[in-house]
């Protein structure tokens, strides 16, 4: 199982209070993890990735194991510690504004 930590506004939309656990089929990548997230929580579609292009929204970032994965290609495998559930995958709303 993959552990995902969502930002507070997306937790509110998904109606969850803590980490989200996802069963990702096959190799765990950015794309497969987000696909699995959106199947379990379809209310999040379009909030993390653009509906049409599937590009990450500009003020959303991805982190895991202290690494910024935001610019990685979508089929990049997630770190082993994330795939094994030892470390969470973080979806973060960027700090923007003053």
């Amino acid at each position: 199982m993959i552990r995902v930590i969502l930002p507070p506004h997306l937790r509110a939309l998904a109606r969850v209070s803590g980490e989200v656990l996802l069963d990702v089929q096959g190799q765990a990548t950015l794309r497969s993890a987000l696909d699995a997230l959106e199947v379990s929580y379809p209310m999040l579609r379009g909030t993390i990735r653009d509906h049409s292009t599937q590009q990450r929204r500009p003020f959303v970032r991805f982190f895991a194991c202290s690494e910024d994965l935001s610019q990685e290609p979508p089929d990049t495998p997630l770190p082993h510690a994330v795939a094994s559930g030892d470390e969470p995958f973080l979806v973060v709303g960027a700090i923007a504004g003053g």
């Binding site: 506004h9 199947v39 379809p42 579609r45 993390i48 929204r57 003020f59």
Partner: protein, 395 residues
Amino acid sequence: MSRVRVLVGTRKGAFLLSSDGKREKWDVSGPHFAGWEIYHVKGSPADPNRLYASQTSGWFGQIIQRSDDGGKTWFQPGTPPGEPTTAPGGMPKGESNKFVYDTSAASGKPLTTHQFYDGTQHPWEFKRVWHLEPSHSDPDTVFAGVEDAALFRSTDGGISWHELAGLRGHGSGPRWQPGAGGMCLHTIIQDAKNPNRIYIAISAAGAFRTDDGGNTWRPINRGLKSQYIPDPEAEVGHCVHHVAMHPSRPEVLFMQKHWDVMRSDNGGDSWHEVSGDLPSDFGFVIDVHAQEPETIYVVPIKSDGEHFVPDGKLRVYRSRTGGNEWEPLTRGLPQRDCYVNVLRDAMAVDSLDSCGIYFGTTGGQVYASSDAGDSWAPIVRDLPAVLSVEVQTLP
């Protein structure tokens, strides 16, 4: 006794304000969707328990919320959790926050660029829903006015949306341009007597009308004069801030333009100015008394460079003559040191015998008058900046 429910969208959530017909004591519910910008909340005339809300964020994009119980509970219409995201055959299922511009050949491949701030052509990009207008007759049918300007319609209760592409297909798109708030379609008015006629308005393109249920559109801006555009009397390019209509007289329209308060007596075919003796004819809101089609309301704003009320005084102006002759309404409103704005969708009227008028300010106050504007009292004083105000008159 009848009741009223005021639906307030703010920069940081939605609030529902409820009262009986006396409109003296109010229950406040909210914030709903705390922390999100709520551009608009509106109820269905066909089913008052059906509410739609536009929830947006610079981070997470557009969300459509729906309530089927008058705002007690809300949900995002669409696919339930765990179900496949595609229908049999592989087509994506409807998604309530998916607004995709129609570029199909079947719709005439509407033009996909508009004039940008620097004068260059810029592609259409969806940003948010400014205004939701439920159908008069069907709770599941609702129109959405969006930025970049286009009109969408859902016929399944907000689950999926399809552009009425004939509007952008009119051909004048390259001359549309964003106003300071973006290039938004902010006003949608359905003709109460003719379901095929709909009016919309765009900043900064102008007003448009369809007479065939939304398939084809034409600009209705003759008589508008805007000194800030290269051709002040151009067919399109005018910064229309809001339009209002009384349901019993759908040929008569009232418009608050960037500058100028305007009136049309022929469904927008031509306009004439009725700013008259207003202290400033710049403003955003305009609305019509529920029982008196010639009684209209505006809130003058000092200028396009100073978006607050003139002289530090919050004054609603009422004309009982359909324009030109205006009286300030001040009783109960702050008359010193007040520098708020009232945004284009932030005024509404109820339909009780003694007409109620409501408006919200960028300072977070929502004011109500239960006597057609003669006197005012705040319902709430300290909300986030108010973006929109609607009211439902309930049995």
